[in-house]
Amino acid sequence: MIRLLEFEGKELLKKNGFAVPPGALHGVGAPVGAGPWVVKAQVLTGGRGKAGGIRFADTPDQIEAHAAAIAGLTINGLRVQEIYVEQRVEVQREFYLAAMVDRDRGRPVILACAEGGMDIESVPRDKIVECTVDPLVGLRDYTVNAVVRGLGADASLAPALAAAVRRLYATLVAEDAELVEINPLIVDGAGNVVAADAKVILDEDAAFRHRDRKAVPDGTPFEMQARELEVIGIELDGDIAAMMNGAGMTMATLDQITAMGGSVRGLVELHGVMWRGAEHIAKVIDLMRTLKPRVLLFNVYFQFRSLDTIAEGIALAIGQAGGDMPPVVVRMRGVREPEARAILEKVDCFVTDDFATACEKAIALSKAAKEN
């Protein structure tokens, strides 16, 4: 899931044939064209307007003043990443238009509303037209026409809006996007259809089709570092850092610890890096230690790969850490279990083959560590 900032989204829309207001990042040359302008906070959250992240400027001096003010903002807990300055467009009419992947229905869906510019979740459901597209036949005219009717515009605008709907769907597919939301899509003073905002989420799994794309998924520093190690990391605020194989096991371990009265500091799902060997595993363990957990828990069950690698990785990490290691609990089951056990006998850790026992032990150790 790669979320784009507004200006990145607009670049992508422009590349796919949409008209967008002329603009540039603040600090990159002079402001585009003549004023008036809009100075916009670039940040991956909504509600920018209310938070003072969108301001109008008539002169270059005003741009500077607004940019300075916006640069210091934190909106919904996120710091403003960039400042974008674009020409202000005269608005004749505003619509809401979006295409997204509906994961439940397993189909692309197009959403349209005659009223644009507001939070779509606050619009009554019956004012939103929702049309799915069957990937077997693609976007066809009957769907385009139904969406355009949903926008409720004059007949004279219908051809331009139909073209925008086709372009939107083509963008969703061509860019492997999970969401392309234009809110508002506007009709400007000259009667042109222009994308005045852009919210785009891309599918990182399709990177092989977009080699030029630099994947920039967001997250906490821990989560970003985990991604660099090709594992999935999630940061929480409890006591135990746990490493599992498989998403189901990861969630089940979180469930089990929580249900038994413990708490979790962080989760790492390592499925997919086992082939990298013990040293890579040790690096992941080092990363887990940066969370300063009270206990490290490993809960792995391998039916295809063998357990030696993970055991070697754990032993390596314990050895390298010296005394700076929190207590370690290992639950292992599966292929080459006796061999893996033999490796771990040489280092200081608690080993079991039982899921519940491992969680119990980790909770007890974390509570003991807390009391000290």
Binding site: R107, P108, L236, G246, G248, M251, A252, L254, D255
Partner: protein
């Protein structure tokens, strides 16, 4: 009996000359899974684990009468691979491949459904009918033939469920892993009626997760079944809006949480098990009471 896969299945491995394909082929032959051939473009005439390799799915199906395919190809080739075997007439496909683009998943799922083919995955751990055939990354020796049907989105969690069942003397008629991605071919709603109709299945264990509405459609089906369904939903304490590796496990909107799904399944008559390690015990208690 069993569902979807049996000793009468005729199995192909797509990508059989790769390392993973070869490993699967050798394991299948060693354990008696009815593997009849493999597909690798340009490698026709070779053999792997004693079975012939074909250039195309069409040629492989024509020569072997195959009806099931295990596909282990790179993610960029997955859509093509699934379309090829669906078009060649496969009735069951396990797509083991992870990180398949969601647009590709939508297309392959639509195509498989249109052709009446059961597609497990993308990102499925596979399907196994213990003692008959194994199209999964589950070791044959860790399964036990029996009368419990398992259907799960997760692979690894399925190991835990089996261990928990084995501890109480149960075994599996079949184990079907739907795949951890948000868009997958075969769903609970497709599998549940098959177990209900299978004379050799006594009870069903459903393993679900947060995100999506698949478990709600399952609940509607549960109401119509004659056999008991035991449901465990993982991710009960998962943080909202986090991605847990399986892209599907996003607990976003309020009512796609594990807790909400557990309630829906309980309301539909399923026996909800709160922790995965308690599955075997719960099944044993319930079946003893019913007897």
């Amino acid at each position: 009996m069993s569902i979807l896969l049996s000793e009468k299945s005729r199995i192909l491995i797509q990508g059989i000359t790769g390392a993973t394909g070869r490993a699967y082929a050798e394991r299948m032959i060693a354990n008696g899974t009815p593997l009849v051939g493999g597909i690798t473009p340009g490698k026709a005439g070779q053999t792997v684990a004693g079975v012939p390799v074909f250039d195309t799915a069409a040629a492989a199906v024509a020569a072997t009468g195959a009806d099931c395919v295990l596909s282990s190809v790179r993610n960029s080739a997955a859509l093509d691979a699934v379309c090829e075997v669906v078009e060649a007439g496969a009735r069951l496909i396990v797509l083991y491949t992870e990180n398949v683009p969601v647009h590709d998943a939508m297309k392959m799922v639509a195509y498989a459904r249109a052709k009446g083919c059961f597609l497990m995955g993308p990102n499925s751990a596979g399907i196994i009918s213990p003692g008959k055939a194994n199209l999964a990354d589950i070791t044959d020796s860790r399964t036990r033939p029996g009368r419990i049907g398992i259907v799960s989105k997760s692979g690894t969690l399925t190991y835990e469920v089996m261990d928990s069942l084995h501890a109480f003397g149960f075994g599996e008629s079949s184990v079907a892993c739907l795949g951890g991605d948000p868009v997958v071919g075969t769903t609970y709603a497709d599998i549940l009626p098959l177990y209900d109709a299978d004379p050799d299945t006594d009870a069903i264990v459903l393993v679900g997760e947060p995100g999506g509405s698949m478990e709600y459609r399952a609940a509607e089906i549960v109401r119509t079944l004659g056999k008991p369904v035991f449901a465990y939903i993982t991710g009960q304490y998962a943080p909202a809006e986090k991605r847990m590796g399986h892209a599907g496990a996003v607990s976003g909107a309020g009512d796609t949480t594990a807790m909400a799904k557990m309630k829906a399944l309980a309301d539909a008559g399923a026996i909800v098990v709160p922790v995965v390690t308690a599955v075997g015990e719960t099944v044993a208690r319930h079946l003893a009471e019913a007897a």
